[in-house]
Amino acid sequence: MNPGIEVLLVDDSPADLDLTREGLSRSRQQFQVSAVADGAEAICFLRRQGKYAQAPEPDLILLDLNLPRKDGREVLSELKNDPQFTRIPVVIFTTSQATSDVNRSYAEGANCFVSKPGNFPEYAAAVQFMADFWLSLAILPRKEMQ
């Protein structure tokens, strides 16, 4: 068991967040989950601003693209252009399947692009698979001492 693994979900749909949590709960990996509902909140969370002063540094971010206030595309670009955050794996998890979104996300430095499946069994399986891959098989960058 690897204690202290943190996953950050960025998604404005409470229903999707619950589906994602349900999928994550099926993974055998141990981790903490935090969630924020838009891009601006995500940036505050990562920069530990305001009410997020005590926020943990995530080991993995699941980022939706179409978000209110600050779009997921902007969040991605901001993270990948900031040396403090650029090493955190970002998985784009969105309903979009547009080639333009896929290409642009990878060009901006997304580590993976996954389209949200349209039905529950596949959605839960996709999330479980992502958790198993990123938090077990993949070797994540080591966090700096806090």
């Binding site: 589906l19 349900e22 309903t95 039905n119 529950f120």
Partner: protein, 286 residues
């Protein structure tokens, strides 16, 4: 006569000046009718565009809430199956079934309304290469059904590649899907007819009764139950839209029990010049 050719809308002899008021009235009425006619055509074109836009927006925006309904009824089914009572299981099953069927319908409607929307460039395409790709994509069902495919020589035309591929794939896919008791034999060919090429996809399958020759091209029209043949009845309506957007026609000839031949016409490469202006106007409007 000469004056009319030059643009006059009527011609009055001096000794018929008495009839002038009548001639003026007639000319005015004709002009009014022409105006009304043009206005009606404009209205019709606008209404068609609005309708297409509506279908696109509706099917696109319905997907999100529908995904929620489908996902959560499936979650309910998974978690509470056998824990409520028999009726609850049945009702949840109906809800899951309805939601997933509606998802497929909405996806199909979206695919239909996307034809011609992409604004992809039309270019010269070798139909032989398109056919080869279509057959490759259909390889599993060709092998599984033991189909024999007979390919004639096809021309090079100007078209949108992915739509042409879909056209061939839908028609050949149908030829295999609606097969009779014999192994399918599908013949693909093209013949020159004036400025057009007429393509044909002929099969030895179930065939279609003459009263259905038109209705099979209507969106969501099916001649069979879902348990006999799966599908939503979208394939041929997409074919029709693709062909008509390129200025062609599609039709079927068939004898029930003997097989069907689907034909579609597309403008030939060297037939294009004469109709270029008309084509350009058409593609701008869409």
């Amino acid at each position: 006569m000469e004056c009319i050719k030059q643009g006059a809308s009527d011609y009055v002899l001096k000794d018929q000046l008495l009839r002038l008021p009548e001639a003026v009235r007639r000319a005015v009425r004709e002009r009014q009718l022409r105006e009304e006619h043009r206005k009606l055509l404009d209205d019709l074109a606008r209404s068609n565009r609005d309708l297409e836009q509506f279908a696109y927006v509706a099917s696109h925006d319905l997907q999100e809430p529908l995904r929620m309904v489908a996902a959560y009824t499936q979650l309910l089914a998974e978690r509470y199956q056998g824990k409520l009572d028999e009726n609850a299981d049945k009702y949840i099953h109906y809800a899951v079934d309805g939601a997933t069927r509606m998802q497929r319908l909405v996806q199909d409607l979206l695919a239909f309304s996307r034809v011609g929307r992409k604004g992809a460039e039309r270019c010269k395409v070798d139909c032989n290469a398109i056919l080869a790709t279509a057959l490759q994509n259909l390889q599993a069902s060709i092998e599984e059904s033991g189909s024999r495919i007979e390919r004639g020589e096809l021309p090079t035309i100007t078209a949108e590649t992915s739509e042409l591929l879909q056209l061939f794939q839908n028609l050949i896919g149908n030829a295999i899907k609606f097969r009779g008791s014999d192994a399918p034999v599908v013949r693909i060919a093209a013949e020159r007819a004036g400025r057009e090429w007429v393509f044909s996809i002929a099969d030895n399958g179930l065939g279609i009764a003459p009263e259905h020759f038109e209705t099979i091209f209507v969106i969501f029209k099916r001649l069979h139950t879902r348990s006999e043949y799966p599908g939503n009845g979208i394939g041929l309506s997409i074919c029709k839209k693709i062909v008509e957007q390129q200025g062609g026609r599609i039709w079927v000839e068939s004898v029930p029990g003997k097989g069907s031949t689907f034909r579609f016409s597309l403008l030939a490469q060297d037939g294009r010049a004469e109709r270029k202006d008309k084509q350009d106007v058409g593609s701008r409007a869409s």
